[in-house]
Each structure stands twice: as structure tokens, then as C-alpha cells.
């Protein structure tokens, strides 16, 4: 339906059903859409990167030092989900705002003389909020892949002369790559299309492609263009996801 729609044209109240590629040409040539696409990818990839970077140590800690409290730790990780996503994103406004918690605190510490403004209503704010929102989703697949590593392999690597750091890079990281790539996909795919977070904390500099799609569907009343943008982002996400999967395959092949 959406795919079909993307080849039509909206003419005020009438939907012109003759086949056209104009929507796609517009989607890929208009600077504003190019900007939104690239910003969405930039935000999403940065979020993916930081989320995995944050989640890995947590998963590592739970897996290797969780002892018999692993279940408890995993349970604690779900606590953020007890409140709604919307509420959590909204709270970032409270934390990052001009008179927000962070600024007040830094002012009180006298580390800054006037409130920071680069932390809300731009891409950075979206990145921070999304990273926080999605971190728990990244922990689980990494945790599972770490759990699956046979502990005797770690002893073997120590026995064969590896110190802790070498051991990490030669055994633990390569063997947990499937989990890392899985986590990256889980974060990347939904965050590209996220629309609540940029709407709440992104201001105008932090808007993403999903916000534009929403605008085109509703206010601008240009459903075909919105559809074309959706299909385009779908294709882009699919393409990048396949790259991720291929990287994963390369690591998985040996197992």
C-alpha cells in the first residue's frame, strides 16, 4: 500500500494515481531530505556505537562477575522499562534543559558560569536520550554471547601466555562479536525511525527523517512523498543492516 502510494501524486484533495518517480527524485535530491537522511543515519549510528560501548562493560560485568546474582542484575536492568518511553524521554528535557538538573548542578558547583545550551534541542540531546533509552536492549544480546563463551577458553588463553587485556582482544571480543552485531542491529534499526525523541528533545537541529515523514503525512498533506521517504529510509536501513549481518556472518562462519 505504502509502496504503491509512493509512486502516486497528491494534488490537493485528489490522489493522482498515474505512475511517477517524482517523489523519489524529490526525496533524494532535495537538500532538506538529504540532510534529514544523513542526520538520521548519523544520530542512529552514533547512538548504536555509544549504546554498544556502554552496554558491553555492563554485560561483561554481569556475565563474569555476576556470580549467582545474574538474574537479579538482569532484572534491575529492566527497571527503566517500568515507566513509559515517552516519560523517560521527557525527563531528559528536565535534566538537560536551560534551568534543568544538569545545568543547575554544574552552576552550583561553579564549574560553569552560565547554563549550557548545546545539550538540549539538538542532535546531541537526541543522542544522549536515545542511548539511555536503548542501552538495556543492547545489554541482553551481548550478555548472552558472553555467557556462551566456554570459561576454559579463558583459562587456556591465560595458560598460553595472555595477560587480561590480550585475552580480551584475542578471545572474549571475537567470540562475543555475534552479540555485539546483534545488539547493534537491535539499536540501529528502530532508532533510525525514531520520532518521539527528536520531537521532544531535538529542537529543530535534532529533527530526524521520521519527523519529516510525519509532517508530510499530516500537516503537509503529501502522503505520496511521505511514503517515498519511508520506503527510501527502509531501503537504506535494510542495506546497512545487511552490511552488519555480513560482518556477523564473517565472524560466525568459523563456529
Amino acid at each position: 500500500m505504502m509502496f504503491l502510494l509512493s509512486f502516486w501524486t497528491q494534488d490537493y484533495l485528489i490522489l493522482d494515481k498515474s505512475f511517477t518517480l517524482n517523489n523519489y527524485i524529490e526525496a533524494f535530491t532535495q537538500p532538506v531530505y538529504q540532510l534529514l537522511f544523513s542526520r538520521s543515519l548519523y544520530i542512529s549510528l552514533t547512538v548504536t556505537f555509544f549504546t554498544v560501548l556502554l552496554a558491553y562493560p555492563m554485560a561483561y560485568y554481569i556475565s563474569f562477575y555476576g556470580g549467582n546474582r545474574k538474574a537479579l542484575w538482569l532484572f534491575l536492568i529492566t527497571i527503566p522499562f517500568w515507566t513509559s518511553y515517552l516519560l523517560r524521554m521527557f525527563l531528559w528535557k528536565v535534566i538537560l534543559g536551560y534551568n534543568g538538573v544538569l545545568n543547575s548542578f554544574l552552576l552550583w558547583l561553579e564549574m560553569i558560569t552560565e547554563p549550557l545550551t548545546f545539550i538540549l534541542y539538538n542532535s546531541n540531546a537526541v543522542i544522549i536520550a536515545l542511548t539511555h533509552g536503548w542501552a538495556p536492549f543492547a545489554i541482553l544480546p551481548i550478555f548472552v554471547s558472553l555467557e556462551k563463551i566456554d570459561r576454559s577458553l579463558l583459562e587456556a588463553s591465560r595458560d598460553l601466555g595472555d595477560g587480561p587485556i590480550k585475552q580480551f582482544f584475542r578471545v572474549i571480543l571475537p567470540l562475543s562479536m555475534p552479540g555485539v552485531v546483534g545488539a547493534a542491529l537491535i539499536i540501529f534499526i528502530p532508532t533510525v525511525g525514531d520520532y518521539i525523541t527528536p520531537k521532544l528533545v531535538g529542537g529543530t537541529d535534532g529533527l530526524m527523517i521520521a519527523n519529516m515523514i510525519q509532517v508530510q503525512f499530516s500537516k503537509a498533506n503529501n502522503a505520496p512523498l511521505a511514503a517515498a521517504l519511508s520506503v527510501s529510509s527502509l531501503v537504506i536501513v535494510a542495506f546497512i543492516s545487511i552490511v552488519f549481518v555480513l560482518i556477523n556472518k564473517k565472524h560466525l562462519r568459523r563456529y
Binding site: 566456554d150 576454559s152 577458553l153 583459562e155 587456556a156 588463553s157 591465560r158 595458560d159 598460553l160 601466555g161 595472555d162 595477560g163 590480550k166 584475542r170 578471545v171 571475537p174 567470540l175 565472524h251 568459523r254 563456529y255
Partner: protein, 358 residues
């Protein structure tokens, strides 16, 4: 050849469990040494203490007269062959074998030559690029061996390396390991629960029960002169009968229902000599003799059970008392076989009887 590994009064507890409970051992350089015992006796923990994967609660391990206190496994002159082999699944055979070498400073081309040599040593030439997951159990075993031996450790530790293999392959690997050890001259410490494995492969064996070394001896002495009933029945079979001391000079005179009055050398008496003793004899030290033979120390009895093992047959014989004897008879040329209920005559080799205190 001096003492290479010294374990000095080592204790190791996990919570309330005393896995190793005061063990002292000296292992000579170049020996094939086995730690033998039932599961849970602490033998694997002892091996892991030597490797450095566990820290002793008290006591010390010395290798080459250097205390291993606080020395991490990667800095110890030991390498280990793990029970499940611990082959890295993301690396191929060559990368697995070269794993430890890559931590050293030798040239890459020299390392590759060493890898080829090691693979040849364990009979895996040409499998360099084979994926670790495409290996059979026996091949994994060989990769694990090559990976450890290539580093030329002072001590090679083997944690039940053959227990996962089927019987034929296990026997083949036993003799290969033995030959390999002689060829490379490295001290091997093998953990096993299989007494025949320990006896056939080792220069020396330490038998462990409940975290303690019960006996440490050469395989022959361990079998012929076990120092307790527990060791005797763990290693092979032994028949125990009651006896009573009736006199003592340079030998011990013991009276028992089945054997009558016999002399036992002092070197074959273990434990505090008290009035009551237990006499032990291995099943193959008793022979079934023809009914026609006449001698004063023959024992007559009646077969109550027969177990056929192929090369040997075991008979349980009642000798008119409450006690029974077990006899193992080789099914060699000319050997008669007997069936349950038959009356037979036995001749026991009285020089092979051992006396234990109760």
C-alpha cells in the same frame, strides 16, 4: 635430575569444602607423574593450583625452586591440556597451535616452522588450515597437545585428557602420550580417575582420597604393595579376609581361617599391628590346581560364581567359611574352565599376601 615441582603442605578450600587438604609432593624432572583418584578427591584442584588457576588457601607450590606465590598462569613455566581441550573455536588449527607463540618475540617465519614441527609431532601434518570445529575428538586432543608443547614448558599438565575419547582411541593415545613424553623429555603431570591409565603410563603415581595423598609410589609398588585397603581396592581388585596375629619375630605370624598359619614379611604389613588384621591378596595370585595334586597348603573350595571377561575368568570360591576368595584365571592355552558348583583346589601365593591393620 632434581625436583622440578614441589608442592609443600598445600591446602585449598572452597567455602566449607576442603578440596585439597594438606598435600606435599615432589615431582622429579622428566617424570611422567599421575595424580589418581576418584572424582572429587581434589586431584584436578591440585593440578589447577600448580597451573595457577587456583590460589592455595595455605602452603606453597615451587617450580624449579621458585615459589609460584602470586604468579599468574600466563607467567608460569607450565602449560595445560584441558579436559574439554579448550580449542579456540574462532581460530583454525594453525592459529590455535601458534596461539601462545604469538606472545613471544620470535620471527613469524620461525614460528610457522615451529607450528609445522609441532603438528608433525602430534600427527596432524597438513591440517594447518582446518577449522577447529571440523576436528574430531582425537584431533582436538592432538591440537591441544601441540599448542601446549610448542611453548616448551617445564611442566605439561594434563587434566583427564583422555576421558572423552572412546576406548580404542584412548588406548592408542595412552601409548602415544607416553612416547611423546619420552621424545620431548618434558615433565608430564596427568590427572586421571582411570587406574589402568595411571599404571600403564606413569613413572610415578600419587593416589588421592578426600584431598589427601594416600600413597605415592611407582605403578608396580602401588599395585603390589598398596599401603591401605582403600588404595588396594581402588587399584585393581583385592580379596580381604580376617586374620589374627599369633606370633612375631622377624616376620609376622598370622592365623586365618582360609590360609591357616602363615608368615608375612614386615615390609608387607601396613598400619599399626594390632591383634586383628586384614589379609589381602590379589585375585591373580591364587591359582586353581588339578584335583590330583597333593600339597599341604592347598585350599579346597566350591565355585559359587563365574564372571567371564574374555582373556580372564573370575571365580568366586567359597572355602567352607563365611568368607569367599576371588580368583582370576587367565584363559590361556590348556587352561580348564570351571562352572558354578564345582569343587576345586586352590594354591595361593602366600608371599603375595599383605596385612593391613583394621
Amino acid at each position: 635430575m632434581g625436583k622440578l615441582v614441589q608442592v609443600k603442605n598445600v591446602f585449598k578450600s572452597f567455602g566449607d569444602v576442603h578440596a585439597v587438604n594438606g598435600v606435599s609432593l615432589d615431582i622429579q624432572e622428566g617424570q611422567f607423574y599421575s595424580l589418581l583418584g576418584p572424582s572429587g578427591c581434589g586431584k584436578t584442584t591440585l593440578l589447577r593450583l600448580i597451573a595457577g588457576f587456583e590460589k592455595p588457601t595455605s602452603g606453597q607450590v615451587f617450580i624449579d625452586n621458585i615459589s609460584m606465590d602470586g604468579i599468574e598462569p600466563n607467567l608460569r613455566p607450565t602449560n595445560m591440556v584441558f579436559q574439554n581441550y579448550a580449542i579456540f573455536p574462532h581460530l583454525n588449527v594453525e592459529e590455535n597451535v601458534a596461539y601462545g607463540l604469538r606472545n613471544k618475540r620470535e620471527k613469524r617465519s620461525d614460528q610457522n616452522k615451529l607450528v609445522d614441527e609441532a603438528l608433525e609431532l602430534v600427527g596432524l601434518s597438513g591440517l594447518n588450515k582446518r577449522s577447529a570445529n571440523a576436528l574430531s575428538g582425537g584431533q582436538k586432543q592432538r591440537v591441544a597437545l601441540a599448542r601446549a608443547l610448542i611453548l616448551k614448558p617445564k611442566v605439561l599438565l594434563l587434566d583427564e585428557p583422555l576421558s572423552a575419547l572412546d576406548k580404542k582411541l584412548r588406548e592408542q593415545m595412552q601409548s602415544e602420550l607416553r612416547h611423546l613424553q619420552r621424545a620431548v623429555g618434558i615433565t608430564f603431570i596427568l590427572v586421571t580417575h582411570d587406574q589402568y591409565e595411571a599404571l600403564t603410563m606413569s613413572d610415578r603415581v600419587a593416589v588421592m582420597f578426600d584431598g589427601k595423598v594416600a600413597q605415592e609410589a611407582s605403578p608396580r609398588d602401588l599395585y603390589e604393595l598398596p599401603n591401605s585397603q582403600k588404595v588396594a581396592s581402588f587399584i585393581g581388585e583385592m580379596t580381604f579376609i580376617k586374620g589374627e596375629i599369633i606370633g612375631e619375630n622377624k616376620n609376622l605370624q598370622v592365623q586365618s581361617e582360609i590360609f591357616g598359619k602363615i608368615n608375612i614379611e614386615k615390609s608387607r604389613v601396613f598400619g599399626q599391628s594390632s591383634k586383628k588384621m586384614v589379609l589381602g591378596i590379589r585375585p591373580e595370585k591364587i591359582a586353581i590346581v588339578p584335583k590330583t595334586s597333593r600339597s599341604k597348603d592347598l585350599i579346597s573350595g566350591k565355585i559359587i560364581d563365574v564372571s567371564y571377561f574374555g582373556e580372564t575368568t573370575n571365580y568366586k570360591v567359597s572355602c567352607g567359611t563365611t568368607e569367599t576368595l576371588t580368583i582370576s584365571s587367565q584363559n590361556s592355552v590348556g587352561q580348564l574352565s570351571y562352572s558354578v558348583g564345582e569343587e576345586i583346589q586352590l594354591k595361593a601365593d602366600m608371599n603375595n599376601i599383605i596385612a593391613f591393620s583394621i
